[in-house]
Point group: D2
Chain length 436, copies 4
Amino acid sequence: MKTLKIVTLGGGSGYTPELIDGFIRRYDELPVSQFWLVDIAAGEEKLKIVGALAQRMVKKAGIPMTVHLTTDREAALRNADFVTTQLRVGQQEARIHDEAIPLKYGVLGQETTGAGGFMKAQRTIPVLLDLCRDMERLCPDAWLINFTNPAGIVTEAIEKYSRIKTLGICSGANSMMMDIAKVYDVRREDVYARVMGLNHLIFADQIAVKGHDVTAEFIEKLAQGNGQNQLKNIPDSGLPPAFIRALGLYPLSYLKYFYLRREMVAHSVKDSQTYGTRGEQTREIERQLFELYKNPQLESKPKELESRGGAYYSDTACSIISAIYNNRQEIHVVNTLNRGATPDLDENSVVETNAVIDRRGAHPLAYGRLPVKIRGLIQSVKAFEELTIEAAVTGDYSTALMALSVHPLMPSVDIAEKILNEYLVVNRPFLPQYPQ
Amino acid sequence: MKTLKIVTLGGGSGYTPELIDGFIRRYDELPVSQFWLVDIAAGEEKLKIVGALAQRMVKKAGIPMTVHLTTDREAALRNADFVTTQLRVGQQEARIHDEAIPLKYGVLGQETTGAGGFMKAQRTIPVLLDLCRDMERLCPDAWLINFTNPAGIVTEAIEKYSRIKTLGICSGANSMMMDIAKVYDVRREDVYARVMGLNHLIFADQIAVKGHDVTAEFIEKLAQGNGQNQLKNIPDSGLPPAFIRALGLYPLSYLKYFYLRREMVAHSVKDSQTYGTRGEQTREIERQLFELYKNPQLESKPKELESRGGAYYSDTACSIISAIYNNRQEIHVVNTLNRGATPDLDENSVVETNAVIDRRGAHPLAYGRLPVKIRGLIQSVKAFEELTIEAAVTGDYSTALMALSVHPLMPSVDIAEKILNEYLVVNRPFLPQYPQ
Amino acid sequence: MKTLKIVTLGGGSGYTPELIDGFIRRYDELPVSQFWLVDIAAGEEKLKIVGALAQRMVKKAGIPMTVHLTTDREAALRNADFVTTQLRVGQQEARIHDEAIPLKYGVLGQETTGAGGFMKAQRTIPVLLDLCRDMERLCPDAWLINFTNPAGIVTEAIEKYSRIKTLGICSGANSMMMDIAKVYDVRREDVYARVMGLNHLIFADQIAVKGHDVTAEFIEKLAQGNGQNQLKNIPDSGLPPAFIRALGLYPLSYLKYFYLRREMVAHSVKDSQTYGTRGEQTREIERQLFELYKNPQLESKPKELESRGGAYYSDTACSIISAIYNNRQEIHVVNTLNRGATPDLDENSVVETNAVIDRRGAHPLAYGRLPVKIRGLIQSVKAFEELTIEAAVTGDYSTALMALSVHPLMPSVDIAEKILNEYLVVNRPFLPQYPQ
Amino acid sequence: MKTLKIVTLGGGSGYTPELIDGFIRRYDELPVSQFWLVDIAAGEEKLKIVGALAQRMVKKAGIPMTVHLTTDREAALRNADFVTTQLRVGQQEARIHDEAIPLKYGVLGQETTGAGGFMKAQRTIPVLLDLCRDMERLCPDAWLINFTNPAGIVTEAIEKYSRIKTLGICSGANSMMMDIAKVYDVRREDVYARVMGLNHLIFADQIAVKGHDVTAEFIEKLAQGNGQNQLKNIPDSGLPPAFIRALGLYPLSYLKYFYLRREMVAHSVKDSQTYGTRGEQTREIERQLFELYKNPQLESKPKELESRGGAYYSDTACSIISAIYNNRQEIHVVNTLNRGATPDLDENSVVETNAVIDRRGAHPLAYGRLPVKIRGLIQSVKAFEELTIEAAVTGDYSTALMALSVHPLMPSVDIAEKILNEYLVVNRPFLPQYPQ
């Protein structure tokens, strides 16, 4: 059995113990012999801390896997089998700006869509495409498993501007199925949901528990579960029951940013005034995590890591890598080319949907027409995504302005212009593609 | 030459003198021998006033056209050649509610799109489909030329639920070309603009003056013309110059409701507090107009009518009716079935675009893909339109709630629910299709 | 575990021992408690012979399955879980006409496409739709697993004109994968081929052995294997090596009817002069089989049955029924709605392609654009199929004539007319939908 | 008013007097000041003969147009406004091979489709793309009006591989409308037919005389007019009346090659045995024409030219050039990009259909779905066209073999291979793109 070389870009991330834990637990099916953690010079200190923990974890597991820590990306990539990314260009500081600048104008600055997602994409896509150039040279047959947000946008950029095989991964659908499993008190494996949409913008329209359709029943539970008399185990979307019934689909929780735009902005403004932005909160959590990681007695991922919400990511990523490696023909929800899965989006758009995963990659299941109830929103965000990618690749100001302007969460093009101008100033070091 | 019988539903409208004036001026090419003005009992008084004026106008013109005033729709429709509609179910009172209720929640209540357009469609579509039933019986080969707003939505409803030949008419594109003509100091006939979109949501992407492309040049004029140093004759869209350049298209002025959502809501709220809603203003203008109409000395349309903005409508309508009647193969901008003109919308969607008009109807010119800059917005409003039509036909509460919820101007589904509930109460008399 | 009631229409067919054998072997996973064989009065004698054999086979297997023989379709259908069809309206006599009439004019009369397929569809579709009407009443949740040729056309007719859940089954793709397995000396389960097309008109464009892509290599083997020096185990398509290389896909063997039209007609004419038509040969084989079946000592399917080529059918059918029943999410090649799997065919067309099968049915994998090399042929046969279905449902002469005329194997519309006229005369008893 | 420079490639063609005659007659609306006839060295003698006639014709007309004869293509192209092509790479000799080789195998060798069209495209496309390269340099804003057959294929090649503005022109639709005019005894201008399809593969589905729909009536006349009792003025398609009624569309006469494949092959074989191929007949007609042209007394196009069928071409071409130059927004049938005009063909396919012609080019009218009766044939020939273009550009043997193999008139891939091999030998001098 061929052993595997896995390379993780942004290896100094606080998530790394999750990932290494996942590979250790799956060693029998995924014989990883080399695990390379790569980071840039600025991240070397964190790389050493988290890398040492990773090495202790592997040692404790007693498996023949070597963990390499390096800032030499070329050496790492050579003959890699799978490359994963969890990098954050500009660190948490950049994220804080991503969120704070829009909030000043009463606009949501969530990092995966809207203004924040736009800005993160501008910093991230050039770095990822540069990675792809290296991969085309050093490991042209390797898979690039992309966790980096905005995951759908980044995946589409790679599909459009590179020959590297890639899949975009998000734990969203997985967490939806976990929630369903909780409601029905069954295992996650007993739940199947068909979802369609874009990353962080997905809806389940068919829900089965042990193969039996429970869609209508589950939607009714959702509707009844919302509001003051929150029922046990029923996820609270914050959406009015009448709306949930009218929708008739199970939306990912991120959808509340769109369906409750006004309320979420108000909430975010208040929240950031009280606790700082989500980026500031995350920075503090990460600081605490790294304090734990430094402890040379620690040989497993600390349970505090769970508050970062990364457990599902690791599970999702490892199981998909295993499905590829073992040619499993299992169904997973991934970000991949549409290819007609829904005729309401371009064939070359990246969608997030159920796909059969095997050694040759992802084969999305034909979905058919989008329900009209969600079609406009999905098409509208897809237009934003296309413009965002084009702006990230060309550094064209007008394209960037259009991208921000057409996002459904943007209340005016005047504000879009102001946000863009502030963004370009604070992000200058990370935007070589824009006129300096 | 066959003479024509023309029937106007909502004949008691203040616009009628415009329309009759148009037919009088075109009598040589459009030999209308019978002009029937039809209204409901409640509108009979206004019908008599405006009808008498129409009769005086015809008499003065010295043409062999008879003007009939009636509340007997069947008699009017029998063997009609063209039927036009300018009716307003629920009168100006309903419009005032359409606008005021959303404004209470800080939501735009414009009558042609958003909440106001939704509500007007709920009242209007059943009446128009009922008219179509009568036409199928009494004048199955007649054309229904629809002016009634929301014109695109109403036209799509007729296309979907009736066999009657129809075209939806709006003066928007015509007024855009008038504006271009003013900038270049040429006649309207020297200007050609290719537009695409939905009613009140169109963009010109190719602009020619005397056959020469001036698109880029005109856009730059628009950009420079905006703002404080408003240039002579350049229409002021209120949009930032950088945005106009980035867009690179000439948007209909209604687009400011979408591109300057926040500012326009603020403006509408302030405006309605100062002057009342647009509906209240219109009611007052109309009251004054009818005072003028009553004057038995008046034998032509009064110039005060122009403040209602109806001149273009009449011109647009008469020239399109003439193009059909005379089999002209002229190009006009109309609301008609897409049929692939743009592959980014369903073939059976109604779009507003350039079409060749001849005796067989409208033949839209193939446009190709929508620019991504405007694609999402158009697709998103089209989804709203489809749901609005479905709600109007079925009277289904959930569909109505979804329609309102997915409109880009709606800031939250919670507010959508509140607006809908208030709407349904005040509109009860006009909504037989909804559960009473 | 719920036990199953399975009903087979055309139960008196010579294939029945294959099917019963398949269910006996899979009893552990598919607990069939009742197996109903249904036939019409005219087929009762054969039903008794083959039914008695089926009962002996079950008895020998020692499983608690009852085999019911009946001509009472209603009783059989009530509460059925799966209904399969292997009926032949008009028996082998009709098939003999299907083939002989076109051959008189030098036109291929193959029973699954071309003139023969057209004629069989005209007789079969009304019977199948009538069955669906009964199922909608008696077992609305049952699956109709359709083996009856032309399987793709019949499945599309059911999808278009009935609410019954259905899948069309053919052993073609399975036999292609068996052939690949033979070439690589691996088990069938180690082979995966992605196919796309219509029933009896499929092409494999991705071939994997144990998850490794061998497409190009296998095509080269095919090319080299053809011709005089026929290599061991390499299927001989009769196609020139240069053409196979140019095609670059693995075509089902039926494709030779299209790619070698002239040669195949010549061969069929000669063959029918020597041995009679395929229908005549089959009738003789079937006569011999029933002689064997009559032997009360026979308790298993006789090996002579294999010459009918039905083994794969039974395997394919049983494994698909098991995948549905056990919610397996396995990939099978079936005839099912396209739903965008390839944008080059209508979303509501039935295609034959790889689909995930689970309790909710078939979910085709998105395939993307058809290679231009095969696109025209597939689209062209699909047009024939649509017209064939419309003719079968309406009994409209002109539609029937167009269907025959547009088939790629038809050399002239004059001949199409002659064939149609002869067909309608000899098939009169089976064509209630046509004017009598 | 800007005067025009027109350049005709293949100026030595026997058609030139038609073209010059057309421009002379339209001088008032199309002020051509320079007319350049260009030919290659091998054609210089014919260029001189026909050029001298052209000069005499202009002189007689007394208009200020200069006629230039040259083999210097660069000089001719510099600052041209319109470039037309009527070249024939390989002369009539090549055409004779195009036809004779397939006929040996009982395959139709018509020069505009099937094997003959394929071969002509292989010779012609490289020459035309080379011309486009020159135009991009010397007259980038000029229009290329392409008459050269296969006109649809050549136009698609130019659209795909060049930036030059182009329209493909054929007299087919025009001659259909002339035939309709004859039947109704009206002027050509009183007839309007909507057609759709590919070059030499078009169908009229809406026929109007003076704006009144006569489609069904005209089809019935066609049906009745066929056969023994050929009615006066009714075009005889040779198609059986039942088929014409079933089709319900008016097919271009070339369609008989497809609908009467077997009969037409037999007829062509017999015809070529009696009179030589069409190419041989044409060569003889052309020889006789040039004898006439040599006469220095001749100052107008001789009436014998009409037997070449070129009159419509000249009319079609001149009126389209005038529509562009004068920005007429007239409707003409041209070969142009589909752009969604019918969703059943790719947006970037060239179709032959009605389009509005103005200074900016051709704007096809949205047609909607193709009738299923003709859809398969059109799609199937389009696949042939795409492969033919790809082969012509790449010189790839396999692509060439596939192109020939998928054509509906090809009876077997074995024969396709034989024809291709013979073609490549005799055409070697004209196929630089193929391995020599």
